[in-house]
Amino acid sequence: MRDVAIVGTGQTVHARRRKDVSQAGLVREAVDGALADAEMTLDDIDSIVVASGPALFGAVNQPEKWLVDGLGGHMKPVVRITSGGGTGLAGALAAMNQVSSGFADKVLVVAYDKLSEGALQYQISTLYDPFWGREFAVGIMGFASAYWKARIETLGHTEEAAALVSVKNHKNAFRNPYSHVRKEVTVEDVLNSRPLAWPIKLLDVPPISDGACAVILAGDDVVPQVSAKPAWIRGMSYYGEADNAANRFMLQSVPLQLAAQRVYKKAGITNPRRQFDVAELQEPYTNFELSYYEGLGLCRTGEAAALIESGATEMEGDIPCNPSGGCMGANPIGATALIRLAEAALQVTDKAGERQVPGARTALVQAGGGWANLRGVAVVGADKN
């Protein structure tokens, strides 16, 4: 039962296709970055948690069994957590418990996906019940666009508001050296882009990327020896919701609200908009970011469009969201949630370079996957609780 800090982070240069590395090599690139950041070697690591998307993304079942050689995992604890798009945060949560309990002092969390290897939408469609709905599935995009349409009707999450998310995140991604997409877009570009699953259009959708992220966690008694600038994990949680439960509420994400409630309580957050200096949100589609504003309490229900329109979530606003560019800069699905956590750690340790929010001390992290039914939240700070 001890506090846990992030003492090192690393990311690959994300790209549409990394032909120069295997899945193992991709992961190692991120690990080398995290080790360099923490001034550690592989020998210093006690335990490893691997997080990645479904085995079908990479044609390798239980890929940690292969990756272990490149992780220096020989004869160490190695386990893989898989939980869809949010799996990077789910992996970090498993690692946090290992450290907090004292099972391990220094744990390496590594998350990745090499999405260029396969046919993504069809792979994602295999989430669906083979008896019930798989034949009509369009990855998660059909589902995501349908409930966005419902939110347009009921909550005013308009196509224009979502376009502003795309514009903002593209602009921020431009300043992020790890970004895969470096292209500024306008609201008109987004609105006029090709419909994929209307109302979702091409520029509402992040790229498909190869990429990995690694984060090293350490316990509070170890931290002074390894890091002058730790990012403390002040709370982290990951909730599930039965996908086809009776009367499942689809306009707000209940598991997101539950996770936020739990984490905010732990971290003493009562006014998220004021208390957070920055937020890193995992937005697989632009409209999700709007929904998260409400679910995370950054604004009231039905006010997400007004929040983005006000500029509050821009770099210069009072609650900058996704200074990294979010998924819009790069979306190696299994790694994406851990990238959000790593970016938050960079922010509160003043290491975010050109994308730094000046003076950020408290950061909000959100992640999720599945049919919007797996949702995680974390609070990362320059200070302990």
């Binding site: 160490k76 939980s83 309990s101 295999t126």
Partner: protein, 377 residues
């Protein structure tokens, strides 16, 4: 047990479905919910008391991606903290124990399940092998098991006759276990007469894949003492993985199992594991079962066959172990469930007077990954 926590973690309840070759008229969700509801029944805990769910299952076996995502309702995980560990269920128990040890929750539900009868067990294993060097030559689970058996015999000068004794022992135990479906209980002669499928191993000397689900409830000390007359305490946990390329591993022994066991014993303060009452272990074949017992320090290298030939102080797989019933992904968690039920004296096949146990689970082709728990009442 944990270095930075005074929290003790207890197994307070568990249940499993019948383990059988094929549950032809049940879906995964049916097996899972049956195990979960049976575990909660009579535990003094309701689903509302469960803080979190950690589950083990395989997308490749289930035929659907992120399969936990579709099974949350059956797992009782609706609006709870949940995570999928895509490894044998004993690693789900490791996760759950650290979560309670960390003080972030008090009641955890651990689930392992699979229905290998719906898919292709060979594919489940060969798809774990890297695709460039080993997979194209047809290397997989059966070949690894055969090669391990050959090396074990050669290193210790044993005859292949020893394997049938191991299998016969475990099937006889399984026949006393109401949760393992055993139509025919093969005797040693029948085992020695079964077809050679991964030379020198015969069909019945490889673990039999079965369908089934298991659910285990673990709690903090505070909750355990309130709800459970005989909590079973987790005293040690260790885990370690070997390198990927099978050809470069030790083949006649399991060094990662040894490292995992030593870590667990160290945490538990166990100096002489042969003094433990019960060993519930997982193995892919009769040969690797002998290697596991040696890695756990229950016999010297090459000495495990004597445990079957001459009898053993420690009760070996009173449940029957994994050779008669290997519900892949759930196998190690079944061992944890079994050892706990036996220590709490809640099953007829419990050895009399047992007070401690070592529990072992494994994952990967050729048993690359190992996890060891120690328990006491």
């Amino acid at each position: 047990m944990f270095a930075k926590s005074s929290n003790r973690v207890a197994v307070v309840a568990s249940a499993q479905t019948s383990l059988k070759s094929r549950w032809a008229n049940r879906q995964h969700v049916d097996l899972i919910s049956e195990a979960v509801s049976a575990a909660l029944k009579g535990s003094g805990l309701r689903i509302e008391d469960v803080d979190f769910v950690i589950d083990s299952g395989s997308d490749i076996l289930d035929g659907r991606s992120i399969s936990n995502c579709g099974f949350l309702g059956a797992m009782g995980a609706h609006h709870k903290e949940e995570s999928r560990v895509e490894e044998d269920g004993l690693w789900a128990a490791l996760y759950g124990a650290t979560k309670i040890g960390a003080g972030s929750a008090e009641v955890g539900l651990l689930i392992g399940y699979s229905k290998p009868s719906e898919g292709d067990v060979s594919a489940f294993y060969w798809s774990q092998v890297e695709p460039f060097y080993q997979r194209p030559v047809g290397f997989g689970h059966e070949a690894a098991s055969g090669l391990q058996a050959q090396s074990y015999l050669a290193e210790h000068g044993h005859s292949e006759e020893i394997f049938a004794d191991v299998v016969a022992h475990d099937w006889a135990k399984a026949a006393t276990n109401p949760w393992v479906e055993t139509d025919d209980v093969p005797a040693a002669d029948a085992i020695r007469a079964s077809a050679v499928v991964a030379a020198p191993l015969r069909e019945l000397e490889l673990a039999r894949a079965v369908d089934g689900a298991v659910a285990v409830v673990i709690t903090s000390q505070r909750v355990a003492e309130r709800v459970c007359p005989t909590p079973v305490w987790i005293t040690g946990i260790g885990t370690a993985i070997d390198q990927h390329a099978f050809a470069r591993r030790e083949r006649g022994s399991l060094p990662a199992a040894k490292v995992a066991a030593e870590a667990a014993y160290k945490r538990a303060g166990i100096g002489d594991p042969t003094k433990l009452s019960i060993a519930e272990v997982s193995a892919s074949s009769a040969a690797t079962q002998l290697m596991v017992l040696e890695a756990l320090g229950l016999a010297s290298p090459g000495g495990a066959p004597a445990l079957y030939r001459d009898g053993s102080e420690i009760h070996l797989n009173p449940s029957g172990g994994s050779l008669p019933a290997d519900p892949i992904m759930a196998t190690g968690l079944v061992r944890l469930s079994e050892a706990s039920l036996q220590l709490a004296d809640r099953v007829d096949h419990a050895p009399a007077g047992a007070t401690s146990a070592v529990v072992h689970g494994a994952g990967g082709v050729g048993m690359q990954n190992h996890c060891v728990f120690t328990l006491e009442v």
